[in-house]
Protein backbone atom coordinates (compact mmCIF):
# COMPACT_ATOMS: atom_id res chain seq x y z
CA UNK A 1 0.00 0.00 0.00
CA UNK A 2 1.24 3.56 -0.60
CA UNK A 3 2.71 5.24 2.44
CA UNK A 4 1.30 8.57 3.52
CA UNK A 5 4.59 10.44 3.78
CA UNK A 6 2.87 13.43 5.37
CA UNK A 7 1.66 11.40 8.32
CA UNK A 8 4.98 9.63 8.66
CA UNK A 9 6.86 12.91 8.94
CA UNK A 10 4.30 14.16 11.43
CA UNK A 11 4.75 11.03 13.54
CA UNK A 12 8.53 11.29 13.46
CA UNK A 13 8.31 14.89 14.61
CA UNK A 14 5.93 13.86 17.37
CA UNK A 15 8.34 11.16 18.55
CA UNK A 16 11.30 13.52 18.45
CA UNK A 17 9.48 16.31 20.30
CA UNK A 18 7.98 13.96 22.86
CA UNK A 19 11.26 12.27 23.69
CA UNK A 20 13.04 15.59 23.77
CA UNK A 21 10.46 16.99 26.18
CA UNK A 22 9.98 14.07 28.53
CA UNK A 23 13.02 11.82 28.10
CA UNK A 24 15.84 14.39 27.89
CA UNK A 25 16.52 13.23 24.37
CA UNK A 26 18.91 16.04 23.52
CA UNK A 27 20.49 16.19 26.95
CA UNK A 28 21.19 12.54 27.72
CA UNK A 29 23.82 11.51 30.20
CA UNK A 30 24.53 8.39 28.15
CA UNK A 31 26.62 8.53 25.01
CA UNK A 32 24.99 6.71 22.10
CA UNK A 33 26.71 5.62 18.92
CA UNK A 34 24.24 7.60 16.82
CA UNK A 35 20.88 9.35 16.93
CA UNK A 36 18.92 6.25 15.82
CA UNK A 37 20.25 4.19 18.71
CA UNK A 38 19.53 7.04 21.12
CA UNK A 39 15.95 7.30 19.83
CA UNK A 40 15.42 3.55 20.12
CA UNK A 41 16.74 3.46 23.68
CA UNK A 42 14.62 6.43 24.75
CA UNK A 43 11.57 4.91 23.08
CA UNK A 44 12.15 1.69 25.01
CA UNK A 45 12.42 3.71 28.22
CA UNK A 46 9.14 5.45 27.43
CA UNK A 47 7.40 2.15 26.51
CA UNK A 48 8.59 0.50 29.75
CA UNK A 49 7.29 3.45 31.77
CA UNK A 50 3.82 3.26 30.23
CA UNK A 51 3.65 -0.54 30.33
CA UNK A 52 3.58 -0.79 26.53
CA UNK A 53 5.20 -3.54 24.51
CA UNK A 54 8.90 -2.64 24.49
CA UNK A 55 9.79 -2.55 20.80
CA UNK A 56 11.91 0.59 20.54
CA UNK A 57 9.73 1.49 17.56
CA UNK A 58 7.05 4.17 17.29
CA UNK A 59 4.18 1.70 16.83
CA UNK A 60 0.52 2.71 16.91
CA UNK A 61 0.10 2.14 20.65
CA UNK A 62 3.17 4.22 21.45
CA UNK A 63 2.03 7.05 19.18
CA UNK A 64 -1.42 6.96 20.80
CA UNK A 65 0.11 7.50 24.26
CA UNK A 66 2.28 10.30 22.91
CA UNK A 67 -0.81 12.05 21.55
CA UNK A 68 -2.61 12.10 24.92
CA UNK A 69 -2.91 15.36 26.86
CA UNK A 70 -0.48 15.25 29.75
CA UNK A 71 1.62 16.94 32.40
CA UNK A 72 4.75 18.77 31.22
CA UNK A 73 7.01 17.28 33.88
CA UNK A 74 9.49 14.68 32.48
CA UNK A 75 8.79 11.03 33.30
CA UNK A 76 12.43 10.46 34.14
CA UNK A 77 14.70 12.14 36.65
CA UNK A 78 16.86 15.05 35.60
Amino acid sequence: APVDQGNKDEDLNLVKNYLSQFYNYENVGQLYINETVATTEKLKEMQRFFGLEVTGKPDLETLAVMKKARCGVPDTGD
Partner: protein
Protein backbone atom coordinates in the same frame (compact mmCIF):
# COMPACT_ATOMS: atom_id res chain seq x y z
CA UNK B 1 4.69 5.86 43.10
CA UNK B 2 8.00 7.42 42.18
CA UNK B 3 9.81 10.05 44.23
CA UNK B 4 11.58 12.91 42.46
CA UNK B 5 15.25 12.13 41.87
CA UNK B 6 17.32 13.08 44.90
CA UNK B 7 14.21 12.96 47.13
CA UNK B 8 13.73 16.74 47.42
CA UNK B 9 11.18 17.72 50.08
CA UNK B 10 10.05 20.78 52.02
CA UNK B 11 11.77 21.10 55.37
CA UNK B 12 8.56 22.24 57.02
CA UNK B 13 5.04 20.83 56.79
CA UNK B 14 3.43 24.28 57.05
CA UNK B 15 3.52 25.59 53.51
CA UNK B 16 2.18 28.71 51.83
CA UNK B 17 0.64 29.23 48.40
CA UNK B 18 -0.34 32.21 46.32
CA UNK B 19 -2.52 32.47 43.23
CA UNK B 20 -0.58 34.97 41.16
CA UNK B 21 -3.08 35.37 38.31
CA UNK B 22 -6.36 33.92 37.06
CA UNK B 23 -7.59 32.25 33.90
CA UNK B 24 -10.42 34.05 32.11
CA UNK B 25 -12.04 30.63 31.54
CA UNK B 26 -13.39 30.43 35.08
CA UNK B 27 -14.77 32.74 37.72
CA UNK B 28 -11.94 33.66 40.16
CA UNK B 29 -13.85 32.17 43.08
CA UNK B 30 -14.05 28.86 41.19
CA UNK B 31 -10.28 28.97 40.59
CA UNK B 32 -9.74 29.66 44.32
CA UNK B 33 -11.97 26.72 45.22
CA UNK B 34 -10.31 24.35 42.72
CA UNK B 35 -6.82 25.23 44.01
CA UNK B 36 -7.84 24.93 47.65
CA UNK B 37 -9.51 21.58 47.00
CA UNK B 38 -6.45 20.33 45.08
CA UNK B 39 -4.18 21.18 48.02
CA UNK B 40 -6.60 19.46 50.41
CA UNK B 41 -6.12 16.27 48.39
CA UNK B 42 -2.60 16.15 49.88
CA UNK B 43 -3.19 17.76 53.27
CA UNK B 44 -5.99 15.26 54.00
CA UNK B 45 -3.58 12.32 53.90
CA UNK B 46 -0.35 13.82 55.30
CA UNK B 47 0.81 16.24 58.03
CA UNK B 48 1.06 19.04 55.42
CA UNK B 49 -0.93 22.26 55.84
CA UNK B 50 -1.34 25.07 53.31
CA UNK B 51 -1.93 28.75 54.08
CA UNK B 52 -2.88 31.21 51.39
CA UNK B 53 -0.86 34.40 50.87
CA UNK B 54 -2.23 37.30 48.83
CA UNK B 55 1.12 38.98 48.13
CA UNK B 56 4.83 38.35 48.46
CA UNK B 57 6.64 35.10 47.88
CA UNK B 58 4.87 31.87 48.79
CA UNK B 59 6.32 28.36 48.67
CA UNK B 60 3.94 27.39 45.86
CA UNK B 61 3.30 30.21 43.39
CA UNK B 62 0.40 29.36 41.07
CA UNK B 63 -0.02 31.04 37.69
CA UNK B 64 -1.46 30.73 34.19
CA UNK B 65 0.73 31.32 31.11
CA UNK B 66 0.76 30.88 27.33
CA UNK B 67 3.72 29.62 25.32
CA UNK B 68 7.17 30.71 26.47
CA UNK B 69 6.94 32.14 29.97
CA UNK B 70 10.49 32.49 31.23
CA UNK B 71 11.21 29.12 32.81
CA UNK B 72 12.81 27.43 29.80
CA UNK B 73 9.79 25.08 29.56
CA UNK B 74 7.41 26.74 27.09
CA UNK B 75 3.82 25.63 26.80
CA UNK B 76 2.66 24.27 23.47
CA UNK B 77 -0.77 25.76 22.85
CA UNK B 78 -4.06 23.90 23.13
CA UNK B 79 -3.78 20.25 24.30
CA UNK B 80 -0.42 18.46 24.49
CA UNK B 81 1.09 19.76 27.73
CA UNK B 82 -1.52 21.05 30.17
CA UNK B 83 0.64 22.20 33.09
CA UNK B 84 3.92 21.68 34.88
CA UNK B 85 5.33 22.18 38.36
CA UNK B 86 8.74 22.35 39.96
CA UNK B 87 10.14 20.16 42.71
CA UNK B 88 10.42 21.54 46.28
CA UNK B 89 13.03 24.27 46.58
CA UNK B 90 13.61 28.01 46.76
CA UNK B 91 12.58 30.57 44.12
CA UNK B 92 10.79 28.69 41.30
CA UNK B 93 10.85 25.48 43.37
CA UNK B 94 7.34 24.26 44.17
CA UNK B 95 5.69 26.60 41.66
CA UNK B 96 2.88 25.36 39.43
CA UNK B 97 2.19 26.76 35.96
CA UNK B 98 -0.97 26.10 33.95
CA UNK B 99 -1.22 26.46 30.18
CA UNK B 100 -3.64 29.30 29.50
CA UNK B 101 -4.31 27.90 26.03
CA UNK B 102 -6.30 25.05 27.59
CA UNK B 103 -9.99 25.43 28.32
CA UNK B 104 -10.08 25.28 32.14
CA UNK B 105 -13.28 24.13 33.79
CA UNK B 106 -14.64 23.61 37.29
CA UNK B 107 -16.75 20.59 36.45
CA UNK B 108 -17.87 18.38 33.58
CA UNK B 109 -15.79 16.36 31.18
CA UNK B 110 -15.38 19.07 28.55
CA UNK B 111 -12.12 21.01 28.60
CA UNK B 112 -9.61 20.31 31.35
CA UNK B 113 -10.66 20.18 34.96
CA UNK B 114 -8.50 22.62 36.92
CA UNK B 115 -8.89 20.76 40.21
CA UNK B 116 -7.65 17.45 38.77
CA UNK B 117 -4.69 19.00 36.94
CA UNK B 118 -3.77 21.17 39.96
CA UNK B 119 -3.91 18.18 42.33
CA UNK B 120 -1.47 16.35 40.02
CA UNK B 121 0.87 19.35 39.75
CA UNK B 122 0.92 19.92 43.50
CA UNK B 123 2.14 16.32 43.80
CA UNK B 124 5.24 17.49 41.89
CA UNK B 125 5.43 20.64 44.04
CA UNK B 126 5.66 18.35 47.08
CA UNK B 127 8.33 15.99 45.72
CA UNK B 128 6.51 13.28 43.80
CA UNK B 129 7.49 12.32 40.28
CA UNK B 130 5.32 10.54 37.71
CA UNK B 131 3.90 7.21 38.81
CA UNK B 132 3.81 4.17 36.54
CA UNK B 133 0.46 3.11 38.08
CA UNK B 134 -2.12 3.99 35.42
CA UNK B 135 -4.76 4.56 38.12
CA UNK B 136 -2.65 7.00 40.15
CA UNK B 137 -3.20 10.76 40.23
CA UNK B 138 0.53 11.11 39.50
CA UNK B 139 0.29 9.14 36.23
CA UNK B 140 1.44 11.57 33.53
CA UNK B 141 -1.62 11.54 31.26
CA UNK B 142 -4.88 13.35 31.97
CA UNK B 143 -8.03 11.39 32.65
CA UNK B 144 -11.29 12.84 33.82
CA UNK B 145 -12.97 11.84 37.06
CA UNK B 146 -16.04 13.60 38.44
CA UNK B 147 -14.33 15.98 40.95
CA UNK B 148 -16.94 15.43 43.65
CA UNK B 149 -16.33 11.68 43.51
CA UNK B 150 -12.54 11.97 43.41
CA UNK B 151 -10.62 9.92 45.99
CA UNK B 152 -6.82 10.03 46.11
CA UNK B 153 -5.56 6.61 44.97
CA UNK B 154 -3.59 4.48 47.42
CA UNK B 155 -0.46 4.71 45.28
CA UNK B 156 -0.39 8.50 45.75
CA UNK B 157 -1.17 8.23 49.48
CA UNK B 158 1.77 5.84 49.86
CA UNK B 159 3.97 8.26 47.90
CA UNK B 160 3.23 11.41 49.90
CA UNK B 161 3.38 9.53 53.22
CA UNK B 162 6.81 8.18 52.25
CA UNK B 163 8.02 11.78 51.95
CA UNK B 164 6.18 13.52 54.82
CA UNK B 165 4.95 10.70 57.06
CA UNK B 166 1.45 9.67 58.05
CA UNK B 167 -1.35 11.68 59.60
CA UNK B 168 -1.21 12.01 63.36
CA UNK B 169 -4.38 9.97 63.69
CA UNK B 170 -5.19 6.41 64.75
CA UNK B 171 -7.25 5.98 61.58
CA UNK B 172 -5.25 6.37 58.40
CA UNK B 173 -6.94 7.28 55.10
CA UNK B 174 -7.04 4.69 52.35
CA UNK B 175 -7.67 5.11 48.65
CA UNK B 176 -8.67 3.06 45.64
CA UNK B 177 -6.09 0.75 44.12
CA UNK B 178 -5.65 -0.07 40.46
CA UNK B 179 -6.89 -3.60 39.77
CA UNK B 180 -4.43 -6.15 38.41
CA UNK B 181 -5.86 -8.61 35.92
CA UNK B 182 -3.86 -11.63 36.99
CA UNK B 183 -4.12 -11.15 40.75
CA UNK B 184 -5.68 -14.44 41.96
CA UNK B 185 -8.08 -12.34 44.08
CA UNK B 186 -9.50 -10.54 41.03
CA UNK B 187 -13.28 -10.28 41.04
CA UNK B 188 -15.65 -8.30 38.83
CA UNK B 189 -18.44 -5.81 39.51
CA UNK B 190 -20.17 -6.49 36.19
CA UNK B 191 -19.52 -7.95 32.74
CA UNK B 192 -21.10 -7.08 29.41
CA UNK B 193 -20.39 -8.11 25.86
CA UNK B 194 -20.41 -5.47 23.15
CA UNK B 195 -20.06 -6.11 19.41
CA UNK B 196 -17.94 -9.21 19.94
CA UNK B 197 -15.79 -7.74 22.70
CA UNK B 198 -16.16 -8.18 26.45
CA UNK B 199 -16.03 -5.50 29.10
CA UNK B 200 -15.19 -6.50 32.68
CA UNK B 201 -16.06 -3.68 35.08
CA UNK B 202 -14.16 -3.20 38.34
CA UNK B 203 -14.31 -0.03 40.44
CA UNK B 204 -13.29 3.00 38.35
CA UNK B 205 -11.91 0.79 35.58
CA UNK B 206 -12.89 -1.81 33.05
CA UNK B 207 -10.89 -4.39 31.16
CA UNK B 208 -11.62 -4.67 27.47
CA UNK B 209 -11.04 -8.06 25.89
CA UNK B 210 -11.05 -8.56 22.14
CA UNK B 211 -11.54 -12.16 20.98
CA UNK B 212 -8.55 -11.99 18.61
CA UNK B 213 -6.11 -10.38 21.04
CA UNK B 214 -4.22 -12.11 23.84
CA UNK B 215 -3.74 -9.01 26.01
CA UNK B 216 -6.64 -7.34 27.79
CA UNK B 217 -6.57 -3.56 28.15
CA UNK B 218 -7.44 -1.61 31.29
CA UNK B 219 -9.26 1.71 30.95
CA UNK B 220 -10.90 4.23 33.22
CA UNK B 221 -14.69 4.03 32.74
CA UNK B 222 -14.61 7.84 32.66
CA UNK B 223 -12.29 7.81 29.64
CA UNK B 224 -15.11 6.42 27.48
CA UNK B 225 -18.20 7.58 29.38
CA UNK B 226 -17.30 10.57 31.61
CA UNK B 227 -20.72 10.78 33.21
CA UNK B 228 -21.01 7.17 34.32
CA UNK B 229 -20.39 6.31 37.97
CA UNK B 230 -17.74 3.86 39.13
CA UNK B 231 -18.51 0.47 40.71
CA UNK B 232 -21.17 -0.61 38.21
CA UNK B 233 -23.46 -3.33 39.59
CA UNK B 234 -24.50 -5.14 36.41
CA UNK B 235 -24.56 -4.86 32.65
CA UNK B 236 -25.70 -6.60 29.47
CA UNK B 237 -25.67 -6.18 25.71
CA UNK B 238 -29.05 -5.48 24.16
CA UNK B 239 -28.63 -7.24 20.82
CA UNK B 240 -31.96 -5.96 19.49
CA UNK B 241 -30.92 -2.33 19.87
CA UNK B 242 -27.12 -2.68 19.59
CA UNK B 243 -26.66 -1.00 22.95
CA UNK B 244 -25.21 -1.82 26.38
CA UNK B 245 -27.30 -1.39 29.52
CA UNK B 246 -25.50 -0.72 32.82
CA UNK B 247 -26.99 -0.72 36.32
CA UNK B 248 -25.91 0.92 39.54
CA UNK B 249 -28.19 1.04 42.56
CA UNK B 250 -31.70 2.00 41.54
CA UNK B 251 -30.56 3.57 38.26
CA UNK B 252 -29.61 2.36 34.80
CA UNK B 253 -27.91 3.86 31.75
CA UNK B 254 -27.97 2.88 28.06
CA UNK B 255 -24.74 3.20 26.04
CA UNK B 256 -24.59 3.51 22.30
CA UNK B 257 -20.86 3.11 21.65
CA UNK B 258 -19.07 6.10 23.16
CA UNK B 259 -22.34 7.89 23.94
CA UNK B 260 -24.65 7.58 26.90
CA UNK B 261 -28.14 7.99 25.47
CA UNK B 262 -29.86 11.17 26.58
CA UNK B 263 -32.57 10.86 29.21
CA UNK B 264 -30.47 8.51 31.34
CA UNK B 265 -29.99 7.50 34.11
CA UNK B 266 -33.52 6.21 34.60
CA UNK B 267 -35.08 4.36 37.48
CA UNK B 268 -35.00 0.55 37.46
CA UNK B 269 -38.59 0.63 38.68
CA UNK B 270 -39.63 1.84 35.22
CA UNK B 271 -38.54 -1.60 33.99
CA UNK B 272 -41.07 -3.23 36.31
CA UNK B 273 -39.05 -4.09 39.40
CA UNK B 274 -40.83 -3.90 42.76
CA UNK B 275 -39.68 -1.16 45.14
CA UNK B 276 -37.97 -3.60 47.49
CA UNK B 277 -35.29 -4.25 44.83
CA UNK B 278 -32.43 -1.87 45.65
CA UNK B 279 -29.88 -3.04 43.10
CA UNK B 280 -29.34 -5.48 40.25
CA UNK B 281 -26.44 -7.87 40.86
CA UNK B 282 -25.99 -9.33 37.39
CA UNK B 283 -27.66 -9.55 33.97
CA UNK B 284 -27.40 -11.17 30.57
CA UNK B 285 -29.54 -11.14 27.46
CA UNK B 286 -30.26 -14.16 25.28
CA UNK B 287 -29.49 -13.11 21.71
CA UNK B 288 -31.83 -15.72 20.20
CA UNK B 289 -34.94 -15.05 22.26
CA UNK B 290 -34.48 -11.39 23.17
CA UNK B 291 -35.11 -12.26 26.82
CA UNK B 292 -32.98 -10.54 29.44
CA UNK B 293 -32.29 -12.23 32.78
CA UNK B 294 -31.82 -9.85 35.70
CA UNK B 295 -30.49 -11.21 39.00
CA UNK B 296 -30.89 -9.58 42.41
CA UNK B 297 -30.18 -11.35 45.70
CA UNK B 298 -31.62 -14.85 45.53
CA UNK B 299 -34.18 -14.04 42.81
CA UNK B 300 -34.19 -13.28 39.12
CA UNK B 301 -36.55 -11.56 36.70
CA UNK B 302 -36.96 -11.93 32.95
CA UNK B 303 -37.49 -8.91 30.71
CA UNK B 304 -38.70 -9.18 27.12
CA UNK B 305 -36.69 -6.76 24.98
CA UNK B 306 -39.13 -7.10 22.08
CA UNK B 307 -42.30 -6.21 23.99
CA UNK B 308 -40.25 -4.12 26.43
CA UNK B 309 -41.98 -5.50 29.48
CA UNK B 310 -41.19 -7.65 32.47
CA UNK B 311 -42.52 -11.17 31.99
CA UNK B 312 -45.25 -12.63 34.11
CA UNK B 313 -44.38 -15.35 36.62
CA UNK B 314 -41.25 -13.60 37.88
CA UNK B 315 -39.31 -13.21 40.12
CA UNK B 316 -38.21 -16.82 40.45
CA UNK B 317 -35.63 -18.30 42.77
CA UNK B 318 -32.12 -18.65 41.32
CA UNK B 319 -31.64 -21.77 43.40
CA UNK B 320 -34.67 -23.43 41.78
CA UNK B 321 -33.82 -22.75 38.12
CA UNK B 322 -30.00 -22.60 38.20
CA UNK B 323 -28.95 -25.12 40.81
CA UNK B 324 -25.44 -24.84 42.16
CA UNK B 325 -24.67 -21.23 41.21
CA UNK B 326 -25.63 -19.57 44.50
CA UNK B 327 -27.04 -16.09 45.16
CA UNK B 328 -25.74 -12.51 45.27
CA UNK B 329 -23.95 -12.96 41.97
CA UNK B 330 -21.32 -10.55 40.60
CA UNK B 331 -21.95 -11.02 36.88
CA UNK B 332 -23.44 -13.44 34.33
CA UNK B 333 -22.45 -14.09 30.71
CA UNK B 334 -23.92 -16.33 28.06
CA UNK B 335 -21.44 -17.84 25.64
CA UNK B 336 -21.34 -20.91 23.36
CA UNK B 337 -24.58 -22.28 24.76
CA UNK B 338 -23.44 -22.08 28.38
CA UNK B 339 -24.26 -19.54 31.08
CA UNK B 340 -21.29 -18.40 33.15
CA UNK B 341 -22.13 -17.24 36.67
CA UNK B 342 -19.40 -15.10 38.31
CA UNK B 343 -19.26 -14.99 42.09
CA UNK B 344 -16.12 -13.81 43.86
CA UNK B 345 -13.05 -15.46 42.39
CA UNK B 346 -15.06 -18.34 40.90
CA UNK B 347 -17.05 -18.83 37.71
CA UNK B 348 -19.69 -21.54 37.47
CA UNK B 349 -20.19 -22.84 33.94
CA UNK B 350 -23.83 -23.85 33.74
CA UNK B 351 -25.33 -26.06 31.04
CA UNK B 352 -28.97 -25.01 30.49
CA UNK B 353 -29.75 -28.30 28.74
CA UNK B 354 -28.61 -30.65 31.48
CA UNK B 355 -29.48 -27.95 34.07
CA UNK B 356 -26.32 -28.37 36.07
CA UNK B 357 -22.94 -26.78 36.69
CA UNK B 358 -20.41 -28.56 34.47
CA UNK B 359 -17.22 -26.86 35.66
CA UNK B 360 -15.82 -24.20 38.00
CA UNK B 361 -13.06 -21.81 36.86
CA UNK B 362 -11.04 -18.97 38.37
CA UNK B 363 -12.64 -15.60 37.49
CA UNK B 364 -9.47 -14.10 36.08
CA UNK B 365 -9.09 -16.97 33.59
CA UNK B 366 -11.52 -14.79 31.57
CA UNK B 367 -8.78 -12.16 31.38
CA UNK B 368 -6.47 -14.72 29.77
CA UNK B 369 -4.60 -15.28 33.04
Amino acid sequence: FVLTDGNPKWETTTLTYRIVNYTPDMHPSDVDRAIQKALEVWSNVSPLTFTRLYDGLADIMISFHSGEHGDNSPFDGHDGILAHAFQPGRNIGGDAHFDEDEQWTKQGSRGRNLFLVAAHEFGHSLGLSHSTDPGALMYPTYSYTEPNLFRLPQDDIDGIQTVYGKLDSPVQPTGPTTPKACDPRTTFDAIATFRGEMMFFKGRHFWRRHPQLVDVELFFISLFWPNLPSSIDAGYENFQKDTVVLFKGKQYWVLDGYDVLSGYPRSIYELGFPKNVKKIDAAFSDQQTGKTYLFSGFKYWRYDEITQSMEQGYPRKILKDFQGVGRDLDAVLQQDGYIHFFKGTQVFKYDPNSKRVVSVQQSNSWLNC
